[in-house]
């Protein structure tokens, strides 16, 4: 019970701070603290992501950071893939899925480290956007 709340809170904080980390923390949290198997953890993580993404989107949209047209296109274009991914996940054994997920976590960690060590990556906006007052590359609240 409290373990789940702690994982949720931590996942949310990390997502708010870094823009990643909801699902990639929810899944191991559900396995390690709530004892769910890999398939149930992944499925449950997906549902838990929805309210977090909604709240985050509303906040970001207020800052004018959401390209609504592209977001809608991406969202709709991804649905076929998402269905295929779910079918694939359910075709794999929990053990294989778990090991693949662990590899994914290592990749996300490496991506974060690389991004952190190259702080000006992606800072040159190709779209004309007013510069914000904050000089780093963190997304705004």
């Amino acid at each position: 019970m409290s373990g789940a709340i702690a994982v949720g809170l931590a996942g949310g904080i990390i997502a708010g701070l870094l823009g990643v980390g909801g699902g990639v923390l929810f899944v191991p949290g559900l396995v390690i603290f709530l004892g769910l198997d890999q398939h149930h953890a992944e499925a449950t993580s997906l549902l838990a992501i929805v309210p977090v993404a909604i709240v985050g989107t509303i906040r970001q949209d207020r800052y004018g950071n959401v390209e609504r047209g592209d977001a809608l296109l991406l969202g709709l274009l991804s649905l076929a893939g998402a269905g295929a991914g779910v079918a694939l996940a359910n075709a794999l054994s929990g053990r294989v899925l778990r090991d693949c997920f662990a590899a994914l976590m290592v990749i996300v960690a490496a991506q974060l480290v690389r991004r952190t060590l190259r702080p000006d990556a992606g800072r040159k906006p190709l779209r004309a956007r007013p510069a914000t007052e904050r000089p780093d590359d963190r997304p705004p609240p």
């Binding site: 994982v7 708010g16 909801g22 769910l36 992944e42 991406l74 269905g83 779910v86 956007r129």
Partner: protein, 126 residues
């Protein structure tokens, strides 16, 4: 085809590719897909990081909701567990965005990377 039309065509194709990959990724791993969307929006479409993260988040609403529904058909979704994690996570996002202005993001990113590595080891060894 005019250059502008060709540009728009390429852009749509890139969005199709990013969306499809993110969808498979999200459905397969139970994550949002931001790991795929954010770097590709930056690399292929010239997005700046803030815009990429925000736009990715909006797309994830659709992806995660649809994938959760699909997983529900397989009977894998535990709604009480999702609420137990998802509702505190909403509070966490609000705290995180507030903290963002007050904490050095670099050290937090490195700490989070360490937590991910430790969790990966724990996951494989259990």
């Amino acid at each position: 085809m005019s250059m502008a039309a060709e540009g728009a065509h390429n852009r749509t194709l890139k969005l199709v590719a990013i969306g499809s990959m993110a969808g498979v990724f999200s459905g397969l791993f139970g994550v949002g897909g931001g790991t795929v969307i954010v770097p590709l929006l930056m690399l292929w479409l010239g997005y700046e990081e803030r815009m990429a993260t925000a736009t990715s988040l909006a797309a994830i609403v659709f992806i995660a909701a649809y994938a959760a529904g699909a997983q529900g058909i397989y009977g894998n979704v535990s709604v009480p567990d999702a609420l137990e994690i998802g509702l505190p996570a909403v509070a966490g996002v609000l705290i995180g965005t507030w903290l963002q202005q007050r904490l050095p993001a670099r050290s937090i990113a490195l700490m989070f990377a360490a937590v991910l590595l430790a969790s990966a080891v724990e996951l494989v060894l259990r």
